[in-house]
């Protein structure tokens, strides 16, 4: 590596800490270590009680039109773990993420090869809406629907019940309980419980994003896809959402795309580094950040490019 390059993100910790098991500090980038409130140190957390494969990506190629944006990617998505996809812009992370619930299909000209399985079943054999209820997604820009907070969450719950003819806006106690539960899981309940009829568009950006997470969680998905969920948010909201994501990994498999290496470091159990459509490196986040096998990974996590 070029000696003039800034020190790698993990160099200090690497020197001080030979074993992987030791609790670590946040990556040293700002010069203030883990001291600032938005950049809290990674909590020492035990591994989830059960870790099992939910989705398997095998030899997947994805294209828009003629250009392949994802090339031969294989990796598992596990429940009980947070998987972070990192990489520079144009590396295909978001496309890969969107292919996991077939959202790539709504773009004209999308093509694919390879196999993606959810619990052993090829997702292209599942009914697409049933798949998306099981594999839900939160986007980069908070995108609550222009309706009340309550209705945003209730909308996601509707159609889960077998009786479809039922009027969905009716606020049955069961529906209200489910809405409250989803808002609590997303850590938003205490802030909005007083006025659930307020328009969701009047919430702050961070609250809107948590509402979107609540909306995604309300449908009880098995896999939650997060596409740079914090890139439009301030550090405080980001910290709230990161805590939330870590808390969720017990009940759902979480995949998060992020440009923010510190965020990947804080929340992820496994990290996949992509570059120009290829999966360069996949492994436990300690390994990817501390002892990357590939030179390109080392350059990226040390800030040499990207």
């Amino acid at each position: 590596m070029d000696p003039l390059m800034p020190p790698p993100i993990r160099r200090i910790a690497l020197d001080a800490e030979p074993t992987v098991a030791t609790p670590r500090e946040a990556p040293h980038v700002n010069g203030n270590g883990g001291a600032s409130p938005g950049v809290a140190a990674r909590p020492v957390r035990p591994p989830a009680a059960t870790v099992r494969d939910r989705m398997l990506v095998e030899g997947v190629w994805l294209a828009y039109g003629e250009s392949w944006v994802v090339r031969d990617v294989s990796l598992p998505v596990r429940q009980g773990e947070v998987l972070a996809l990192i990489g520079a812009s144009g590396s295909g992370k978001t496309t890969l993420l969107r292919s996991l619930n077939r959202l790539t299909e709504i773009t004209a000209g999308a093509a694919r090869a390879g196999r993606i399985a959810l619990d052993g079943v090829d997702i292209h054999e599942l009914e697409v809406n049933a798949l998306r209820r099981r594999v839900s997604m939160v986007f980069q820009q908070p995108n609550p629907f222009p309706m009340s907070i309550y209705d945003n969450v209730a909308y996601s719950l509707a159609e889960q019940s077998p009786e479809r003819g039922k009027r969905r806006r009716r606020r049955s106690p069961e529906l209200s309980a489910a809405v409250e539960d989803a808002l609590r899981r997303a850590g938003l309940w205490d802030e909005v419980s007083g006025d659930l009829d307020r328009s969701a568009l009047r919430l702050s950006g961070g609250q809107q994003q948590r509402l979107c997470i609540a909306r995604a969680l309300a449908a009880e998905p098995e896999v939650l896809l997060l596409d740079e969920p914090c890139s439009a948010l301030d550090p405080i909201s980001t910290a709230t959402i990161e805590e939330l994501v870590i808390g969720l990994r017990e009940s759902v498999a979480v995949v998060i795309v992020t440009h923010n290496l510190q965020q990947a470091f804080r929340v992820a159990d496994h990290v996949a580094f992509m570059h120009l459509g290829e999966l360069v490196e996949y492994g436990p986040s300690e390994q990817v950040f501390d002892r990357p096998r590939e030179q390109r990974t080392r350059d990226y996590v040390s800030g040499a490019f990207g």
Binding site: I106, N129, S136, F139, F145, P146, S156, C212, A216
Partner: protein, 337 residues
């Protein structure tokens, strides 16, 4: 941040650049500027003139009794006592029938065109058909409607006639009227849907919602103001159309006696008149020979159209208008700020 010093006082000497002088513009710009002024003023003057003229004439001749009395029946002459209660009712009836057909149809077609557009050849064909429909003169639509509804099997829509079907009734007129309102509803709905950010659809698809659910519960509610504006514009067209009324509603000044036993349907199968046909009939060009009443009726018609236009402006502005507030009260029990 605690303990920060008081923010500094704003500067007292503020320099504002002087507004650009028109005299500094090149001649071509100044000439064009003058043209804009003149045409703008002329347009305002013409609009004001029409409204004021009708206002003065209308108010001079408008009497409350005109609004509450039926026209004289059985006589061509309308100068004797009699008002235009029936034409007002007729206008409301035709507008209601036309809107009730055009609004749901227009919204449905617009949703299909923007959200599904499959099969694509049919979508393209419908697109052209709508464009063509919007350009057809209403008198042509009316003539076609008369021939179409005169067919025997459509006779149930109008009162029975010796030749099988009269082809003239509120239902027949309203149905053809819906064709002139349809393009407006459709265009407004379509523009509204196309202006929605794509991420709104993605958000709903990502939750496993179908296109139908997304359209019905997310997209269409989000563009309620656009739809309402389109519907009201369509109503304006219907209220103001004369050709279709003259041909498809017949000339009877009064509403005909309901036939059959179904209360509303009986009335709708009958013929009658509207404000437009009443104004035409009583104008100096018509046979009614009651110019004063024509002016008064035209004034009422103008008020109706202006009220509809005001409603559109109100709906499309951000502030919730009366309708929006009424909706909130119905929905939440109270109007909110």
């Amino acid at each position: 941040m605690a303990g920060v010093a008081a923010s500094p006082a704003p500067p007292t000497a503020v320099v504002r650049p002087p507004r650009e002088r028109i005299s500094s513009w090149p001649l071509a710009d100044r000439a064009f500027y003058a043209l804009c002024w003149i045409s703008g003023l002329a347009l305002c003057a013409i609009a004001l003139w029409i409204v004021l003229y009708m206002l003065v004439k209308g108010i001079a001749y408008l009497k409350p009794s005109l609004l509450t009395k039926s026209p004289v029946s059985g006589s061509i002459e309308q100068t004797s006592n009699g008002g235009f209660l029936d034409p007002i009712e007729g206008t409301l009836l035709v507008t209601a029938v036309g809107t009730l057909i055009a609004a749901p149809l227009g919204v449905a077609i617009a949703t299909w065109l923007t959200e599904y557009a499959r099969p694509s050849w049919l979508a393209r064909a419908v697109d052209s058909a709508i464009e063509m429909l919007a350009g057809v003169p209403s008198i042509v639509l009316a003539l076609f409607g008369l021939i179409f509804f005169s067919q025997g099997f459509l006779g149930f829509l109008s009162q029975p006639a010796a030749s099988g079907s009269l082809g003239q009734s509120f239902l027949d007129a309203g149905a053809v009227m819906s064709l002139i309102a349809l393009p407006l509803v459709l265009a407004a709905t379509r523009e509204g849907l196309e202006a929605l950010p794509p991420r709104m659809r993605e958000a709903s698809f990502a939750l496993g919602k179908t296109r139908a659910t997304t359209s019905r519960y997310v997209l269409l509610p989000a563009i309620k103001p656009s739809i309402a504006a389109g519907v009201v514009l369509g109503m304006g067209r219907i209220v103001g159309d004369t050709a279709i009324i003259t041909i498809l509603l017949g000339g009877s000044a009064q509403l005909t006696e309901p036939v059959g036993h179904t209360p509303v349907f009986g009335l709708l199968r009958g013929t009658g008149s509207t404000l437009t046909s009443y104004v035409y009939y009583n104008s100096p060009a018509g046979e009614g020979n009651a110019h004063e009443k024509a002016y008064a009726a035209a004034f009422v018609l103008l008020l109706m159209v202006l009220a509809l236009n005001a409603l559109v402006t109100r709906i499309t502005s951000d502030r919730p208008g009366l309708a929006g507030r009424a909706f909130e009260i119905l929905r939440f029990g109270t109007a909110r700020a």
